[in-house]
């Protein structure tokens, strides 16, 4: 047991916890004012819900003793047998309970990420039921496959330092399923759905960036050089991705956008996540810059394919996570981490890239298909969508009986329900049809 490692991992766990309120702001700023609370609530509520699920059964399913490479056993239900002594298979230098806490906040943020796809139209009850089922049926098994001793993808040799597949691709492709199953927001592409408070979004991106040092450096599970390597890889990739997205904006219209800068930073954080402990700073820079450019173009895919991924979870987390997972196969080097592998540029040939591609395809298929089924199930049980009237009036009043902003003393700005704006009232919309992908 190492007290320095323990201190570092516990602080990292708290940093990762802070990412989810950051995500609430990141998403909350991007929706319309009438849906700000419903959007913020989906992230914030998830902290409570998944914290409880994790202690009850989630941790055990993910990290309990291996059953056939597919799932963890029930030995850790209720955190039974999760003690103060280290578990040598999971984290030899810190208390087992510290490891379980650190992992808990990864499980919290992953389903919260998905909420951006179905923002502004899903019932709260449907969201809560879906999040519960998804955590136990999609997240826990995938975390087991990739990270737990005996998990089949880990034994296969695919690398995922801090959750590019388990967290980001997983959320990204569940998001794609969600956008398809729940359908478009009413008025999508017919009326303007503008972000109502981008300063929230930029602040949220900043909090995510800060918390991500816990996510990635903390995934070293020790206060050591590898943690420092992951730290600089994380920051370098994020800076480069911010520049990459701004470059795309600049080339298109000779303007940079704050939403582009915030989105670029998040895309870089996503893409470096699986690679942070396997690449040097220059590899990280390349991965981040690529992510900024690719994700800036990928957010246009929804217009081409006609799905309403409201806050671009697919374009940023799905595509960014996939890009990072694949580029490990190019930039990984054992000079950085002897427990990793050599990618293409370090003379490792195509072996690692092939294994990464398998991990990507497995994640994409498993997450996409099982999430699709779960969403259909939730739709049958409680119904996914709010009513048309509620959607027009906003989910803050409809789902929570509150208004995000009260500018007068007579109650919130949107109560009682205002007449919906005519479809073409205030804007015409031109989306990147031809220049995406």
């Amino acid at each position: 047991m190492d007290t320095g490692d323990t201190a570092f991992v516990l602080i990292s766990a708290a940093l990762v916890m802070f990412m989810t309120p950051g995500l609430a702001l990141f998403y909350g700023g991007m929706v319309r004012a009438k849906n700000v609370l419903a959007t913020v609530m989906q992230s914030f509520f998830t902290i409570g819900l998944v914290s409880v699920l994790w202690v009850l059964v989630g941790y055990s399913l993910a990290f309990g003793p291996d059953k056939g490479g597919l799932i963890g056993g029930l030995d850790y239900v209720g955190f039974a047998n999760v003690g103060q002594a280290p578990n040598p298979d999971l984290s030899p230098t810190i208390p087992h309970i510290a490891y379980a806490c650190f992992q808990m906040f990864f499980a919290v943020i992953t389903p919260a990420l998905i909420t951006g796809a179905f923002a502004e139209r899903m019932k709260f009850s449907a969201f809560a039921l879906f999040t519960t089922l998804w955590l136990l049926i999609v997240y826990a098994p995938l975390a087991h496959w990739v990270w737990a001793p005996g998990g089949w993808l880990r034994e296969f040799g695919a690398l995922d330092f801090a959750g590019g597949t388990v967290v980001h691709m997983n959320a990204g492709f569940a998001a794609l399923a969600a956008a398809i199953v729940i359908g478009k927001r009413r008025g999508f592409l017919k009326e303007a759905m503008l972000p109502h408070a981008l300063p929230f979004t930029v602040l949220g991106a900043g909090i995510l960036w800060f918390g991500w040092f816990g996510f990635n450096a903390g995934s070293a599970l020790a206060a050591n050089g590898l943690a420092a390597t992951a730290f600089i890889a994380t920051n370098t990739a994020t800076g480069a991705a911010l520049l990459g997205w701004c470059l795309v904006d600049w080339l298109k219209r000779r303007k940079t956008t704050t939403l582009g800068a915030a989105s670029g930073a998040v895309a870089g954080l996503v893409a470096i996540t699986p690679a942070a402990g396997y690449v040097g700073p220059m590899g990280a820079m390349a991965i981040g810059f690529a992510a900024g450019i690719v994700c800036a173009l990928a957010v246009g895919l929804k217009y081409r394919f006609g799905y309403d991924d409201a806050l671009d979870v697919v374009g940023v987390h799905g595509i960014g996570g996939m890009l990072g997972a694949l580029l490990i196969g190019v930039f990984a080097t054992t000079a950085v981490n002897s427990a990793g592998a050599d990618g293409l540029l370090a003379g490792g040939g195509l072996t690692l890239l092939g294994k990464q591609a398998v991990a990507v395809l497995v994640t994409l298929a498993f997450s996409g298909i099982v999430s699709f089924i779960l969403l259909k199930l939730v739709d049958l049980v409680v119904g996914l969508r709010v009513s048309e009237e509620e959607e027009l009036a906003g989910l803050d009043i409809g789902e929570h009986e509150e208004a995000g902003y009260a500018f007068t003393e007579g109650g919130g700005g949107t109560a009682p329900m205002p007449a919906p704006a005519p479809a073409s009232s205030s804007a015409t919309i031109r989306v990147p049809q031809g220049d995406s992908a």
């Binding site: 303007a192 503008l194 972000p195 795309v248 904006d249 298109k252 219209r253 303007k255 956008t257 939403l259 582009g260 989105s263 800036a296 957010v299 246009g300 217009y303 671009d312 009232s425 205030s426 804007a427 015409t428 919309i429 031109r430 989306v431 990147p432 995406s436």
Partner: protein
Amino acid sequence: MKLVVAVIKPFKLDEVKAALEGVGIQGLTVTDARGFGRQKGHTEVYRGAEYQVELLPKTRIEVLVDDEAADDVVKAVVAGARTGAIGDGKVWVLPVEQALRIRTGEMGVDAL
């Protein structure tokens, strides 16, 4: 009596108000408004999607004045609101039949 109504750029409100005080007005009503004129809005871009925003934020002001003061008030609004660029807004003058100060019951010009 006349009602002078103007729709101006929101950031010119302080200058218009100062100019109106300079010609001795006793009161002013200000409302946030949205609208378009011949310039038809501006473009906003979010993650590469372009939105032509046709209704722009404007500020609407109303001043109730004596007949003789109306021209000076209009001139003051123009002096305060003009930038020379498109979207500076418009001023118009309406006749007013009656006015009444609620607290005292004074009517007509006495109520101004």
